[in-house]
Symmetry: C2
Subunit: 168 residues, 2 copies
């Protein structure tokens, strides 16, 4: 099965992965979502709880947009990747979403080489979706499908903050 | 509330809208999805049936990728837009997805002016998401958020057909 990458600075990367999860669950597939960097609960959690065949885990401590990553952030991401390596070696799930893992690589919480190794050694029956801006070129080369989502216009630029049920 | 457009030739437009629907439903919002051009059942239908506060309708007769649009296609799209106009004038839904409506405009099944009129006259408490490649420039100008999804790489190009639970 294939490796998808949703990258770029536009809105739609995580939501595209969630939409794929919704579709896959509807087809009876089993979905695992690992969220890197993020530690807060997004609204999708409530919907996913009502659906069968899915599990979400978070591998972030707290947001570091306004600070440098600290030891705890590196550890959380490393443990996350270790967990993903396990998941990808079993046949428990058909689809595995690695949400914002590109950001974890960009901030060097985990290395591109480690992530590629985990992908290459995975059970090849699993479809893997990686999201986040700044996807590294080695990942783009390895992936089977890459969508680059460009921000043409965003209401954030008008000072609109993140809204529950739309952005989070 | 805002108008989002997901356009471009890359994978992720409809799935981003579905992901937003999943998130919005999780936040207790009510979601309506109108699918233009499409007439087949996608796997997401099964998942959405298990979730509250949503409704899907289809305004397509059959796929016309390999033929010219016929009278029945124009009628289906026109009736769809009429229905959307009604929906957008009430306060029954918080989020209204107009899936592939850009394609309906591109093939001139409905005009850009008619769609913009419906958007402008809508109940402004409703967030509207429009998807499909070839979004017209007048729509991009009017929208608050526009993501252009570029295909960097797609497994279709290797001859892989549409797969259940992933692409449909």
């Amino acid at each position: 099965m294939f490796v998808h990458v949703y990258t770029g600075n536009g809105k739609g990367k995580t939501t595209a992965a969630l939409g794929l999860a919704l579709r896959a669950i509807g087809a009876g597939k089993k979905v695992f979502i690992g969220q890197f960097v993020k530690n807060m609960d997004y609204s999708e959690i409530n919907s996913l709880k009502l659906l069968p065949n899915n599990k979400i885990e978070k591998y972030g401590v707290s947001c570091f947009i306004d600070r440098n990553p600290e030891k705890k952030d590196y550890e959380a991401a490393k443990n996350g990747l270790k967990r993903i390596k396990e998941i990808l070696s079993t046949n428990e799930y058909d689809i595995v979403v690695l949400d914002e893992i590109n950001i974890a690589m960009y901030f060097k919480l985990i290395s591109v080489e480690e992530v590629l190794k985990v992908l290459k050694e995975r059970n090849k029956n699993i479809e893997v979706i990686l999201t986040g801006r700044y996807a590294p070129k080695e990942l783009i080369e390895y992936a089977d499908l890459v969508s680059d989502i460009k921000e043409v216009k965003h209401y954030y630029n008008k000072g609109i903050l993140s809204r529950k049920g739309i952005d989070k």
